[in-house]
Symmetry: C2
Subunit: 443 residues, 2 copies
């Protein structure tokens, strides 16, 4: 399926603020139109037609034929872009192929990937004589309802649309599944000197031909500096994975999202941050070994925070890679080993105790077991090991990475190194022992 992106308007309110065409305004390191293209690419859309108007040259120069993004882009120019977005949308009739359905969206409306995926799942049910429109019923959540196009919906049909509608129960998200019927309605509206997309959709709504898809999830129309900030907020919040560890969720993300927001605007790659996190672990180890446990502990926690940033940047800037995932998980293990060795060294250095050797060894051997167990389970059971499902009450044991590094931070700050190593050894092995007995019922 092809996607048609309207990028013809002038976007005055953002232009004055950013001094570049609105579709090309960068939001957390990726321009608005690029983010739309890459989000659609994740939904398996590879062919794009971009309708240009005011900034034809700039947009073409910026995106080219799409090769850099791994997609195909063709352009259609609308000389009469000033008349309204209906004229821009109608421009697509030049490329329309018979019986085709296409996605139609605005360059400046951003959607969560899941929203588009769910929308597309319904696409096969739509006939050529109707259209499909994404709408949001959760009006309390919608940002700046005032500015939205309102919809009077009955069941899943739109009865009327308009910016000034008083009697409404949903708003238009600006995401369409277009058909021949839409192009016909646009042509009809234009012949009546009505130049907006809404006018054409209204013609179809009156015939009961506008089906609605009520979205769950986030979207936003980036229109002015306020909505731009709101979009940043939404994108950053969406980076927290649903199955985040307790310490990660309650402490680390507060910092990591701030760092991600800063770094997103630079060219720093996720793998570079993975390396930085690893070197922070090395520094933590050296501080521990040099008998500066306070700084050792603090750096351990920073390691944990940076461990979140690499994934956040990867998801935010469409830089996820399989190699990155593997690189991260192996370097994380090394970081942890090195920190524990630094602590063991410190203990040994002050106490010259054989116990230091043994406890350090126990903690070291416990560290990889959580991941080892989960990965082996995945291979054998061909399903993911989920602590909240498989670990019962033991899921509260701080034996995963965010919990372990938090214990190390506390131990360093309080200068309780022997106790910290003992606790690490206990929680990691206790978790493994429990899993070994408990997992039987799931296999």
């Amino acid at each position: 399926m092809k996607a048609v992106i309207l990028a013809a308007g002038e976007g005055k309110r953002l232009r004055s603020h950013f001094n570049r065409p609105k579709p090309l305004v960068s939001l957390l390191g990726v321009s608005l139109i690029e983010r739309n293209i890459l989000t659609l690419k994740e939904c398996n859309i590879k062919d794009f037609t971009i309708i240009t108007g005011c900034y034809e040259r700039e947009i073409k120069e910026y995106l080219g034929n799409g090769e850099k993004l791994g997609v195909n882009i063709t352009y259609l120019h609308n000389r009469d872009w000033q008349l309204g977005n209906g004229v821009s949308a109608y421009t697509y009739h030049k490329n329309y192929r018979q019986n085709e359905k296409f996605i139609l969206l605005m360059a400046d409306h951003l959607f969560q990937e899941e929203v588009i995926k769910n929308f597309l799942k319904q696409a096969p049910k739509i006939n050529q004589n109707e259209i499909f429109l994404a709408a949001d019923k959760d009006l309390d959540k919608v940002y700046d309802v005032e500015e939205c196009t309102k919809i009077k919906a009955e069941g899943n049909l739109a009865r009327e649309l308009g910016k000034d509608l008083q009697d409404f129960n949903a708003v238009d998200c600006g995401l369409f599944l277009g058909t021949k019927a839409l192009l016909n309605a646009l042509s009809q509206a234009i012949s009546q000197n009505q130049y907006t997309l809404t006018a054409a959709v209204n013609l179809m709504a009156k015939q009961g031909k506008v089906k609605l898809h009520f979205i769950k999830g986030h979207w936003i129309d980036v229109d002015d500096p306020e909505s731009y900030k709101q979009a940043e907020k939404i994108l950053l919040q969406a980076l927290v994975p649903p199955k985040d560890g307790f310490i990660s969720r309650t402490i680390n993300r507060k910092f990591s999202l701030k760092i991600t927001k800063k770094l997103a605007k630079t060219k720093v790659t996720p793998n570079q941050i993975t390396l930085l996190s690893f070197f922070t672990a090395v520094a933590s180890s050296l501080f521990f070994a040099g008998l500066h446990p306070f700084w050792g502990g603090l750096l351990a926690q920073i390691t944990s925070i940076l461990d979140g940033v690499d994934g956040e940047i990867a998801r935010l800037k469409f830089l996820k890679s399989k190699y990155g995932g593997l690189f991260d998980s192996i370097l994380d293990r090394y970081g942890d080993f090195i920190i524990v060795i630094g602590m063991g060294y410190a203990w040994y250095f002050t106490a010259e105790s054989l116990l230091a050797l043994l406890i350090c060894a126990a903690a070291l051997s416990g560290i990889p077991m959580s991941m080892l167990f989960k990965e082996k389970f995945h291979t054998i059971a061909q399903t993911t090991y989920l602590p909240e499902k498989h670990d019962g009450l033991f899921r509260y044991l701080p034996a995963n990475r965010d919990g372990r590094l938090f214990i190390i931070m506390l131990g360093g700050i309080l200068n309780w190194i022997p106790a910290t190593l003992i606790i690490l050894a206990i929680v990691t092995h206790l978790q493994t022992l429990f899993r070994l007995f408990n997992v039987r019922k799931f296999l």
Copy 2:
């Protein structure tokens, strides 16, 4: 598809040796007929008809309705079993359902699982007016050609069959895909007072209705004490996995297969052997720590050998389980940790050196990395990490378990504990480092 197993004969030559009906003679802990049933079960065959004769009562008592084996067994009795196996095979006409194809085999012919799987893959190509017969062309490999039914084959058709055939190029393995046509041929042969299966197949062969499947892999007709021993040999050899480590293949299997042969006849389970292997590792560690490195080293190698036995018993006696696989791989890691800790303790005890702590820590942290890397790769790439494919020349690094435990044995016997720990630390981390750089091109 249903399987029909002929178990009607007297089997005199083995009877005198084992003093029980031949189908019930135990071979490496599993009776011949049970092994056939369980091998077919692994090929997704769940319904069985067993044709009894001489030992009706004993076989029924032994197998029951198949519930214990997780299959359904029904019985048909052939009172005239003494006439010949053609009469026994024909007995199945009582249960035959229209247009059915069925597997027909002898209780005392054993096949590798792969042989049956490949045979069954061809089954859909066979029509109701022909039959399909497994044959072996590799006459040098066939055990006791003298005793076999010979086949004169042209292409994949059998032209003539007979025990005394002079001009032959294959032998009959006793594995058939039966059809209505086979039952008809049996009926015709019997009416001509020819009571063997071969006689009926010969009638069809003359009409070009016997298609052959030339097997690759092992099979054997267990007929007398010599072929019984040969069957043991074949089954044990088949237990060595194709992707075995170098030390495992060249040293460990020589011992483990002997142990497996002994233990197969007992009720020892694979998980019990996993535990035994783990406790051997604990003993190895204690000997190292008690400054008896020779015994520590030897026990480490025994750990490695026993690590092979659990899997061998599981495969040999159809006792594989997902839990067993997970239990084994986690306990193996613990065994290794404990041995290395024992060695570190010994070094520390004699040298009181900080270096002992650091090198022991480096070796400890290296041990889980091989498995960790492979499992994570599997999860991310959704394909198995194969050292021979992905590791290049580094596959010869003795960083996998068989190699590591062999190094430990040498180190113990030669009393070179510091050097051993240093080598372990180097090979394990070198392997991981290499993989981390090299794997990029496979992701």
